[in-house]
């Protein structure tokens, strides 16, 4: 069964460093998402991406964050200058569509980011 994969599973970085989290969505999916979950808190939407453009972003997704689909298979989230409060589990998801009706979002296993 196709699945979303994410690398690395755990990333430790120092405050102020740049990190890139990588995701390989399901191959025929067209819509991609990033969510994060701070320990003990809700899963929060960061951004959705379609056709090489951001479709929607949340208030969390500020100028420190960027997303990219560098090739036909990867989808990346970059945090330019990490802060302690960026420590969280980051989930990538993908779906076939989401336009006018419901399409299931398939989630990857997550990357745990620890900022020290």
């Amino acid at each position: 069964e196709p699945e979303v994969t994410q690398t690395p599973s755990h990333q430790v970085t120092q405050m102020g460093q740049e990190v890139i989290l990588r995701c390989v969505p399901i191959s025929n999916h067209l819509y991609f998402y990033w969510y994060r979950q701070i320990l003990g808190q809700k899963v929060e939407f960061l951004v959705s991406f379609y056709n090489n453009e951001i479709s929607e972003k949340s208030e969390i997704f500020d100028d420190q964050f960027s997303v990219e689909r560098p090739d036909g298979s990867n989808f990346t989230l970059k945090i330019r200058s990490t802060k302690l409060e960026d420590s969280a589990m980051y989930f990538c998801a993908s779906s076939e569509k989401f336009a006018n009706s419901f399409y299931e979002q398939y989630f990857g296993p997550g990357t745990r980011l620890t900022v020290t």
């Binding site: 819509y31 969510y35 809700k42 899963v43 939407f45 479709s55 989930f91 419901f102 989630f107």
Partner: protein, 114 residues
Amino acid sequence: QKEVEQDPGPLSVPEGAIVSLNCTYSNSAFQYFMWYRQYSRKGPELLMYTYSSGNKEDGRFTAQVDKSSKYISLFIRDSQPSDSATYLCAMSGGRGSTLGRLYFGRGTQLTVWP
């Protein structure tokens, strides 16, 4: 954010019990209501979804949506130890956002003991 509220539990029940999980929400524009299940060290996995109000049944699972009360429920009948997981409610289609943006509750941790 108070968009979606869910009691985090934990909830511990014996095998065979009926489990009731609930969420409330504030955004009356939500259109789709989902229940995700999350096992340890895994991403959320869609269990069921409902469009607008009403009930939906899938095997031992029943999802209910009451839009007038802004309240959704998931019932698990004849619960099994394999149902032990964290259950997250999620919603989309809120005012000013796309259907692809999911708003999650905190999740309820469920343990079903043999």
